[in-house]
């Protein structure tokens, strides 16, 4: 699709939105001006076309263009609906909330995993459990989804959306730094101790080079899980951060983050960005999402460091890795739930053949990954290997407040050595549990 087409589509979308607004405006002024027929005439003309289903996303620039290509394909095959993309890359959730409150939100919209339960609890998104049960489309087959990923789109046993991505955290490493230090690439034998040992070996603060980089990313939860602990139980009824396992995981993280013996200092990360530092060859190992472009950047421009991908090191219990995921949901106030549902399923199918890794077992294969993103073909094997270890957060409706409390009362004092995990955890646990449903 060329730029002219995109501009044309954008203009059509804008026109449609303006027509909707105009209908309201003209209705309000109709008595005084006697122009009510104008709005009625235009609404009638629009009704003869395919039902338009508006889609709200945070997609920006290249991602928005790629998404538009997926939508074009879906629209070409659809007989009774047409998806109209309305990307809002800046302040996405602020705009989404205000449009929901104002009754002008899109029919479909993306929600990151931590938002679905909250929106479902507030009745802002449509329960699609029954619709899915009656649907035999592949994207509606919930048994094909990775269970921990699907769970993020569910609340109190009901399903509110379809996940469109499952992106496990992987360990990226700088090939040259490893070779120069005479260290073998990370493999399945790696555990926390080995990771820490290599991080220390690669660190040279005077040269501005660090073994790794922690900055509240990767999430501390992942290390708590790897030690056998939990932050919120699957039943959403407890926050056992004070168990010995959870404390062990948190303390391991605290012993690395911002410590110049192993990791980049906070100021360097804030100013340079850890992804950019990694590409610039200033960081030896980095926990990043499977679709991050770190390992691809070198292929596109050799000025970047050569980076490869491996499984994350194993913790005392297992190799659990965090998976970022997001879902497409239906606005509970949509005036066309059936068309919106059909569009949701068709769009999800399309996205599953665009984004890696699709959150469905049948599509999470080396072949599919290599076909969808050829640049990741080399890493496809290790990505697939990580899928069996991935999981997401257990989400509560008041997740934003929970995250803030967890951050301010636990993570921040812990990261800056104001207290140990053992001292803090029992004090913070009741504060967190107060926020549970």
């Amino acid at each position: 699709m060329d730029a002219q087409d995109r501009i044309g589509q954008f203009r059509n979308r804008l026109m449609q939105s303006r027509l909707n607004r105009r209908a309201a405006l003209q209705g309000a002024t109709a008595v005084g001006l006697g122009v009510a027929t104008m709005g009625g005439f235009r609404s009638g003309a629009a009704a003869q076309e395919k039902v338009q289903v508006r889609l709200g996303t945070w997609a920006a620039s290249e991602e928005a263009s790629e998404l538009q290509a997926v939508i074009d394909k879906v629209n070409a095959e659809a007989t009774d609906f047409e998806i109209v993309s309305e990307p809002q890359p800046a302040d996405y959730y602020t705009k989404l909330q205000t449009t929901i409150a104002g009754g002008t939100a899109p029919d479909l919209f993306w929600l990151s995993q931590e938002y679905v339960a909250g929106y479902a609890d507030l009745g802002a998104v449509l329960d699609i459990t029954d619709m899915l049960a009656d649907d035999d489309m592949p994207a509606a087959d919930l048994s094909d989804y990775f269970e921990p990923i699907l769970k993020t789109a569910q609340y109190e046993g009901q399903t509110y959306g379809l996940p469109w991505i499952s992106q496990p955290v992987m360990l990226y490493y700088n090939v040259k730094m490893f070779e120069d230090a005479g260290i073998d690439p990370p493999d399945e034998s790696w555990d926390w101790d080995k990771f820490k040992e290599v991080a220390e070996q690669l660190t040279d603060p005077d040269a501005g080079v660090y073994g790794t980089s922690f900055n509240s990313w990767p999430p501390i939860h992942m290390f708590i899980w790897q030690a056998g602990g939990e932050t919120i139980t699957p039943e959403l009824d407890a926050c056992p951060i004070d168990t010995p396992e959870a404390i062990q995981g948190a303390q391991f993280y605290a012993d690395i983050i911002y410590k110049e013996q192993y990791a980049a200092p906070e100021a360097a990360i804030a100013e340079q960005g850890f992804g950019e530092m990694m590409k610039a060859g200033k960081i030896g190992m980095f926990y990043g999402g499977a679709t991050d472009d770190l390992d691809v950047a070198y292929k596109k421009d050799p000025v970047n460091a050569e980076i490869r991908m491996a499984l994350v090191p194993s913790g005392p219990k297992d190799r659990t890795t965090f998976a970022w995921t997001a879902s497409t949901v239906i606005n509970a106030a949509t005036k066309q739930p059936e068309a919106a549902y059909k569009a949701l399923v068709a769009l999800t199918e399309g996205i599953h053949h665009w984004k890696i890794v699709a959150p469905r077992q049948s599509l999470a294969t080396e072949e599919v990954i290599s076909e969808v993103v050829p640049d990741k073909a080399e890493a496809a094997g290790v990505i697939v290997q990580a899928l069996s270890d991935m999981r997401s957060f257990n989400i509560i409706p008041d997740q934003a407040e929970w995250d803030l409390t967890f951050s301010e009362e636990y993570q921040i004092p812990l990261y800056y050595d104001e207290a140990t995990a053992e001292d803090l955890a029992p004090e913070v646990r009741p504060l967190l549990e107060d926020l549970l449903p």
Binding site: R11, M15, R18, G32, L33, Q97, L122, E271, S407, I412
Partner: protein
């Protein structure tokens, strides 16, 4: 089909026609009630402004007061909870006190420093310097530049290896101290914002005070000279009293502006350990945590704090502000 441009034009024409119709009806209504032609025309002409004031200012103002007594998450209708938001704020919200301390701490240092610095600069510029227009433009420039852009510029200048630390590197070495981490060391965050704040208020205030200085009649200085007053005596007994009403204005605006600081902190995103400004906290509660009701309550408390400070300054003004027109 009508072109997109024609449809846009229709929007404006419809709105314009509706407002014009309302103005006409108001004029007729007032005339019907016996209001004079001139007065009725006046009211009809200010109607567009009045509609804007009610719809965009008074309406949200009253709505926010109501919302402050509700549990409102945006996604659900507000539920009345009485004074719970205010009780939680003062008894159960540890962040509130930290944020309040940070905001007031910033204002208490930033406002006087900005005022004194601007006064000194304005006084120097008032010494018949050449190219006054250029200087005035240069000093006012920070007030014209977009706040977001200047915030990002300051973030770059105050980076650990940024311009400021590079320039003062030898000074740090002399005193044997490390380069400050302006936005990641909680002890340095407030000084960093004060430094940034001074740059802005310094310029804007300097221009206002310079205008005030230029308005002081020369004959007062001539009379003081005849009475044997020296430069310092003239400054404190003629300049400052004659400038006091301008200083009063700058002080009030400075207090309100500093207590409402938002843009810099929003764009720079310093370490969370230092706390943040009240306006940023209100934004976070409203749009990041969906607590619209609580955010509205915070907004009202902030308004009361601003009113309190403003009232204190107003009350004190009788003792130090001199108005030429009130001379008895």
């Amino acid at each position: 089909m009508l072109s997109w441009y024609a449809l846009t034009l229709t929007d404006y024409v419809v709105v314009g026609a509706a407002i014009f119709l309302a103005m006409f009806l108001i004029h007729r209504l007032l005339r019907w009630f016996g209001v004079g032609r001139e007065a009725a025309t006046g009211y009809a002409l200010i109607l567009p402004w009045l509609i804007g004031l009610v719809v965009w200012n008074v309406g949200p103002f009253v709505a926010s007061l109501y919302l402050s007594f509700t549990d409102y998450t945006i996604l659900k209708p507000p539920a009345w909870i009485g004074f719970d938001n205010y009780i939680e704020m003062f008894t159960d919200d540890r962040r509130f006190w930290r944020v309040l301390r940070f905001t007031i701490g910033y204002s208490v240092i930033n406002v006087p420093l900005g005022l004194i610095g601007a006064l000194i600069t304005a006084t120097l510029l008032n010494q018949d310097v050449k190219g006054l227009g250029i200087w005035r433009t240069l000093y006012y420039l920070p007030a014209v530049l977009p706040a977001a852009a200047t915030a990002l510029l300051w973030r770059w200048m105050l980076a650990s290896n940024g311009l400021i630390n590079q320039i003062f590197g030898p000074v740090y070495s002399l005193f044997g101290v490390d380069k400050p981490a302006w936005f990641t060391d909680p002890q340095m965050v407030l000084p960093a914002y004060i430094l940034m704040g001074l740059w802005g208020v310094f310029g804007a205030n300097t221009v206002i005070l310079l205008a005030g200085l230029k308005n002081i009649p020369r004959d007062l200085y001539d009379a003081a000279k005849i009475d044997g007053a020296g430069r310092i005596s003239m400054y404190f007994n003629v300049t400052i009293p004659m400038l006091s009403s301008t200083l009063f204005y700058v002080l009030i605006i400075g207090i309100i502006g500093s207590l409402q600081t938002f843009t810099q902190a929003f764009f720079i995103q310093h370490t969370a350990r230092a706390g943040t400004f009240m306006s940023v906290y209100i934004y976070q509660e409203a749009f990041e945590r969906n607590s619209m009701g609580y955010a509205a309550a915070l907004g009202w408390v902030m308004l009361l704090i601003i009113l309190l400070f403003t009232l204190l300054v107003f009350r004190s003004s009788e003792a130090w502000v001199y108005y030429e027109g009130e001379r008895s």
